[in-house]
Amino acid sequence: MGSMESLWTVRRPVRELRPGDHAWLAYTGREEQHHVTGAFVRAGLDAGERVVYLSGAAPVTAPRLPAHERLSVVALGRGGRRGGHFDPAALMRAVAEAVADAGDEDHRGVRIAADMTWAVRRPGGLELLLDCERRIDIAIGPSTRAIALCQFDRARCTAAELEALGGSHGVEVVPDPEFEDSVLRIVRTFRPPGLALAGELDASRHAVLLEALTTVAAGAGREVHLDLSRLRFIDLGALNILADTAAHASGRGALVLDRMSPQLRTVVETVGWHMLPGLRLGP
């Protein structure tokens, strides 16, 4: 797809990706990459699809991938250090083979995942890669069986490079919600690490809050941020759970409540921050 298409870049959770999507992820740290790519790979294997993981030269630096007969890892780079030499032809060959295999009646479809950060860092890599991305768009776009997910490490790309790469993908992938129903949605965030809560939170959903907090607190040694910009109601029991989580997160840092609506903020101030040790108001 051409540059016009980038105006319509959509954000889509992993589980809503569909055949023909050429998606991208600019990740912040391995945790985000594992979270999103892991979900992408698992969803494909669970659905009986083939998964092809493209990486730089061996040793392969793919995120924790499950061993599976329908999962194959293809090393693209040739020789050298840090991914090796970038050969666009090898990339296009691997993509074409995967897409061709997707037409095979034995499989329900194919998912292609690739961390291409190493290629951006080769001399002239960005231009070569952008050319490949255009051709991948043409290969994947009409397909009714193939999905591609390209990943880039934010820390190793410039803002301009990321903008150009983003413009060459029709879909930006975002994490699947940890929980979602008609009242409450909880999504992992990675910049900063934490959760985004949307909707209303009362006693009937304390258990899912606690579960989500446990998953994010597992990566210890840091502050956990809660983006509350789209939370319309929080009950006192949930505040108690947050204070309890912060109190038991010794050495892990505080829970930071970001972007609370003025109404929720006043409720918390009425309660008093001194009542909620370990909780802190963010920006």
Binding site: D202, A203, F233, L236, G237, V271, M275
Partner: protein
């Protein structure tokens, strides 16, 4: 560290200064955190009488401190916590005019609750009452809610002091709990309280409550309903009606609460993790919360004025 909570019933400005000044300066000498909370009009004369000592004392206006009894307890609690390990010595003059009879009684209850909430704080408080200006009823309350009396240079035990639980029970006996026949009713039967919040929120808006007052009432009603589901016995329900400028919201269930005392939800918890946090917070969120634990069930009545 016991609390020293003394009433100072005085006659005129000279009498006031002769006791207030030595009380405050003794705190400075002892290295305590000294605060003077009094009506704005009194700041100038007291500063003058204190001379150079005034600089070391934190002055606050009673008009700011005394707007809602339970919130005032919280303000003093925060002050005591912020100064730890230093002890606090406070000249504390409440606001007694401009309240309804019921509100005046809640302020008297507040003075009584100070003895519970700050029992172990080691704080020293001097509460001035101007006999020449205040109604006799308020002077009588002062004698019932302060275990100590300042008398000239001395402090004496007050024989008329009434224990907070007994004083609270007496306040409670004056309450009425009738409910209009045409009150709106909503049964509470599911832990998903979204419908209840919308029910209260819509009526709060229709009554003309400010956005924040409405959100506070919704939060308080949600908490009372969650408590009724968790600790009470079914059936539980919520009633809503208006009384002039007040929107009244009552949550009731058929459970009995035999050990409920007149102090329930008044003693500030140290943190959200302690028992009593929910009811205490409900008291903070609304203009007035009244709890009735009777033979026919447990009822939490919340009132918010527009």
């Amino acid at each position: 560290m016991t609390l020293e909570h003394r009433a100072f019933i005085y006659d005129g400005a000279d009498d006031f200064v002769s006791v207030a000044v030595p009380f405050l300066t003794a705190g400075l000498e002892a290295g305590e955190a000294v605060v003077a909370v009094l009506r704005r009009a009194g700041h100038g004369p007291l500063r003058e009488a204190l001379g150079e000592h005034a600089e070391a004392i934190a002055f606050h206006a009673s008009e700011d401190f005394y707007q809602h009894p339970v919130r005032t307890l919280k303000i003093y609690q925060e002050l005591v916590q912020a100064e730890r390990p230093r002890r606090v010595r406070a000249l504390a003059e409440p606001v007694w005019d401009g309240w309804s009879a019921r509100e005046t009684l809640e302020w008297a209850r507040y003075e009584s609750l100070i003895n519970v909430a700050f029992a172990g704080s080691g704080a020293k408080a001097l509460c001035p009452y101007d006999r020449t200006a205040l109604p006799p009823e308020i002077i009588r309350h002062a004698r019932e809610t302060h275990p100590l009396l300042a008398s000239g240079a001395f402090t004496v035990r007050n024989p008329e002091y009434v224990k907070p639980a007994d004083f609270g029970a007496r306040c409670d006996r004056t309450r009425r709990f009738d409910r209009p026949r045409d009150a709106a009713y909503l049964p509470i039967d599911s832990a998903d309280l979204r419908g209840l919040r919308a029910f209260v929120g819509d009526r709060a808006a229709a009554h003309g409550l400010a956005r924040q007052a409405a959100q506070n009432l919704v939060t308080a009603a949600n908490e009372a309903a969650a408590n009724a589901l968790r600790h009470g016995a079914p059936p539980a329900g919520l009633w809503l009606w208006t009384e002039g400028p007040d929107l009244v919201c009552e949550v009731g269930d058929h459970g009995s609460w035999p050990d409920a005392t007149p102090l329930v939800g008044f003693d500030p918890p140290e943190s959200a993790l302690q028992r009593g946090f929910g009811l205490w917070t409900v008291r903070l969120l609304v203009d007035l919360m009244e709890l009735r634990a009777g033979w026919d069930g447990t009822f939490v009545r919340m009132r918010q004025r527009r």
